[in-house]
Assembly symmetry: C2
Homo-oligomer: 181 residues x 2
DNA sequence: CCTAACATGTAAACTGTTACATGATTCC
DNA sequence: GGAATCATGTAACAGTTTACATGTTAGG
């Protein structure tokens, strides 16, 4: 019974305290989306499947008339999560980035336009960095309250990636600006 | 007439000297795949479409009995490529990385298993770095022969990303080893 | 002679997103 | 009263990959 990474995102988020599909969605938006995105349309069917497979259990937690279904990990689900963490498998690093793609082909453009391509790449990464930095405080809090230190650590990795992209872009801008006078 | 990024990969590669679908496939494998992958099954249909749209022209270039179809950019195609480079659009940085995902959820594992997760992440990025570094010489050559400098520049960005991931992982390994040691 | 590389293409399957549909509750 | 947030779910669509199908030619 092998599960897609999406399933482990859900198991992992339930372990970190999320209860509903909606909780998971919000948690992903501010954390794992930097290295693994999942959408609503994947979450709800996957919750149903994991429940059916006995990795999680759901119960009705409606507030009055408001529908709400809360889930928690079963021992079997926790075991599956832990085993996945230690499972040896290929770990491809897949990136889709139009900004870097444009940089690669920037020889086709005029020098000024090429510099602009780099500027936009840097600006994009600066924005991403801002979002990531805004998560530093909440995830440090989570770590101190005993909720786990690794979310903050993974955040550090994401920050490092964008910082290095910004550094390369800034260097490049200086180089190219110097050339064109 | 808006085209998917895949179309620009093809236009860009033709501009850099590729002639056939096969050429494009090989070029992508050693270059753009680090920030944008495309497969055979996308290349050939897209070549046909771009030809139909007048952005490229194909002619038969068979060697004896060996089928071969060579394409080149039309002025319209080159214009489309240049306009795309300057086109303002959102530039999402999408990453799919199981290694970072496991790092995020590593609190569920025993400390030693968590360190192993980091080691594997580092080892993965070291391998990727090796592949990227192997491209430095050929892409520097391309730049010196007047074939364009930006492929080498984009490579620098890829190298920087993995170097920063390796640095973070090494730091982390030392931190965690000191704690458990 | 045989293997690797050259070369083109398609069908089926799979994955994932966008948009839609629906409605309750809380806060201003 | 209205907007934002909480909350669940599906259908249609778009994009991508895998596997298959086929054949040539250069080099060891």
């Amino acid at each position: 019974m092998s599960l897609p990474p999406t399933a482990y995102v859900i198991l992992g988020m339930l372990r970190l305290g999320a209860e509903t599909g909606y909780d998971i969605k919000r948690a992903v938006e501010v954390s794992t989306r930097f290295f693994w995105t999942i959408s609503e349309a994947q979450i709800y069917p996957m919750l149903a499947r994991l429940d059916k497979d006995g990795l999680i259990v759901g119960h009705d937690a409606s507030h009055g008339r408001r529908k709400r279904r809360a889930y928690e990990l079963t021992p079997k689900g926790e075991k599956a999560l832990i085993e996945w963490l230690s499972f040896e498998e290929p770990l491809p690093f897949e990136v889709r980035d139009v900004a870097l793609l444009k940089l690669f082909f920037a020889d086709a453009a005029e020098p000024e336009a090429a510099i602009e391509v780099i500027r936009r790449l840097r600006s994009r990464s600066e924005q991403e960095l801002g979002v990531l930095r805004a998560q530093e405080a909440p995830s440090a809090e989570l770590a101190e309250s005993g909720g786990g230190r690794f979310p903050a650590i993974a955040l550090r990795a994401g920050i490092a990636v964008h910082e290095s992209l910004i550094a390369v872009a800034a260097e490049l801008e200086a180089e190219l600006a110097a050339e064109s006078g």
